[in-house]
């Protein structure tokens, strides 16, 4: 059972209180983009074995979306942060690097 902290209301709760929302920081592509870009946006996921940035919603709490950094190979949650950002905060990256020295943040 994952334990997550909602950065919006500050409550720490078990995963049953949250709803997972898939990979975070996806770049949107609309109707005028190429087929490859559109396919990438809709379907091609990083799906890494290791550090993963993802969206969650505090479904049975404040109802807000937020983002989390989690390891898919160990289920360790590194931290959560606000959804209103295009990339993970620097201090979180630093924290993950300290725990997973071989990990490189991808663009």
């Amino acid at each position: 059972m994952l334990t997550l902290t909602c950065p919006c209301c500050g409550i720490t709760a078990e995963e049953t209180e949250f709803a997972p929302g898939g990979e975070a920081h996806l770049k949107r592509f609309g109707p005028d983009s190429s087929d490859a870009d559109f396919e990438g946006y809709l379907f091609a996921r990083k799906n890494p074995k290791g550090v993963h940035f993802e969206r969650w919603r505090h479904a049975y709490g404040c109802g807000k979306w937020f983002l989390a950094a989690r390891c898919t190979a160990t289920l360790e949650v590194f931290g959560t942060y606000a959804a209103q950002t295009h990339k993970p905060p620097a201090d979180l990256i630093k924290k993950i690097k300290a725990k997973r020295p071989e990990w490189e943040p991808q663009a």
Partner: protein, 414 residues
């Protein structure tokens, strides 16, 4: 390979069973193979088997990171059915089901295929309409399924409570020739047959890299050294994205945990497989008497082969209303596997952007039932460059929007 037969049993009985040989060899890898299959689960071994049996290609190695059949092949609920809505799915799953019927004889290995019949309960009006539509589709596809009323359901499964206040049983989609098989035996039987054709099954050998030259695959790097190959088949289910990254391309796959669990063994009480998709639980009784129960997947990416506890609780709780008999059963053990989910919940059997690399993945929650059909189609794709069964399941469908949408057809959250 010595054949298994009643004479072999009698012969060995007379000499203290000292003459049984190992079912498959465990050789060191050669420098080069015509085809290397990554993943010695059911799908990988079946691919190798049909490459040899149908296409005469026996210069094949099957590489396995862990032990043979230790991934999802050993972690499922062994249900076999082909009652799919979409034509391409119905074709490949029906091919698999029909191959299962003759598999024990074909492999000279008892896979304990038990065509005990399979029910998919209609517990809401919406579900009833959906399954009746599937029955009509199956009729056009030449697959024997029928819609049966609640009385017939009760007759087939006396332990079922058809008058549940919340989820009454309004009828069921019945596939009389669906059933179960012994999951380990399927992997072991294919492995033994592959080995006897001269193929190398290499266990405890992790692939760490894929080498290419001018857009064409040349070999793989493994924990047991470099292995060259002309063609490479990636058949690794939950780890498909990891292997694809080594190959330099990306797949429309997300890996999530799917769990199953069994109760303590009880006397025979249910001789069909029952799926209740409204509450998303399914149950059958194993030959040992355990009630084998499966539910839905977790919603988040996961490679740990263990899922969230609350799914076990939710599914069991939901099934108790329909099967009051299980309310006081103790659950014996629980396990999880990592399934590879695609956007349309249909598999991918396809060439890739790298020449010579083929992928067979995306079977998601329905991999076991499709093993023989998947291997048959994959072998044809590798050997001939085209397979009618696999044609619709290519990677381009995501770019072109030609989905084989079984997620909607199944009406469950998967």
């Amino acid at each position: 390979m010595k054949r298994y037969s009643i004479f072999a049993v009698a012969r060995e009985a007379l000499r203290y069973h000292a003459g049984w040989e190992r079912a498959w060899r465990s050789p060191e890898p050669k420098k080069r193979y015509k085809v290397v299959v990554i993943g010695a689960g059911g799908h990988g071994l079946a691919t190798a088997y049909y490459l040899g049996k149908v296409h005469g290609i026996t210069d094949v190695a099957v590489i396995e990171k862990g032990w043979l059949g230790g991934g999802n092949t050993g972690r499922n609920t062994t249900i076999i059915r082909s009652n799919y809505l979409q034509d391409p799915s119905a074709a490949i799953y029906e091919k698999a089901r029909s191959l299962y019927e003759g598999l024990s004889r074909d492999l000279n290995y008892n896979v304990m295929f038990s065509p005990r019949g399979l029910l998919m309960l209609g517990q809401t009006e919406h579900e009833v309409r959906g399954y009746q539509r599937t029955v009509h589709a199956n009729r056009l596809q030449g697959i024997a399924t029928e819609w049966i009323g609640p009385e017939r359901v009760k007759e087939l499964v006396p332990i079922l409570n058809i008058d549940g206040p919340r989820y009454p049983v309004l009828g069921a989609l019945y596939q009389a020739r669906g059933g179960t098989a012994r999951h380990d035996a399927v992997a072991w039987g294919y492995a033994r047959a592959c080995s006897s054709m001269g193929m190398d099954i290499i266990q405890q050998c992790e692939v760490t890299g894929i080498s290419q030259n001018a857009g064409k695959v040349t070999g793989i790097t493994t924990s047991k050294g470099e292995i060259g190959c002309e063609n490479l088949a990636i058949v690794v289910a939950g780890h498909s994205s990891v292997l694809a990254e080594m190959g330099g391309f990306r797949l429309p796959i997300e890996s999530v945990a799917l769990q199953a669990w069994v109760s303590e063994p009880i006397k025979p009480c249910m001789d069909v497989v029952v799926m209740a998709n409204t509450v998303h639980g399914y149950m059958s009784q194993s030959d040992k008497g355990e009630m084998v129960i499966g539910g839905g997947t977790d919603g988040f990416n996961n490679y740990t082969q263990r899922g969230s506890w609350h799914h076990v609780e939710e599914t069991t709780r939901a099934l108790v209303e329909t099967f009051p008999i299980i309310s006081r059963l103790k659950m014996l053990r629980q396990w999880g596997g990592i399934v590879d989910m695609t956007g349309d919940r249909s598999p991918i059997l396809s060439k890739t952007p790298v020449e010579g690399i083929f992928v067979n993945c995306g079977w998601g929650t329905g991999g076991f039932k499709s093993i023989p059909g998947s291997g048959f189609a994959m072998a044809e794709l590798i050997a001939r460059g085209h397979s009618p069964l696999a044609a619709e399941f290519n990677l381009n469908r995501f770019k072109e929007g030609r989905f084989i949408d079984e997620s909607v057809a199944a009406g469950v959250a998967h």
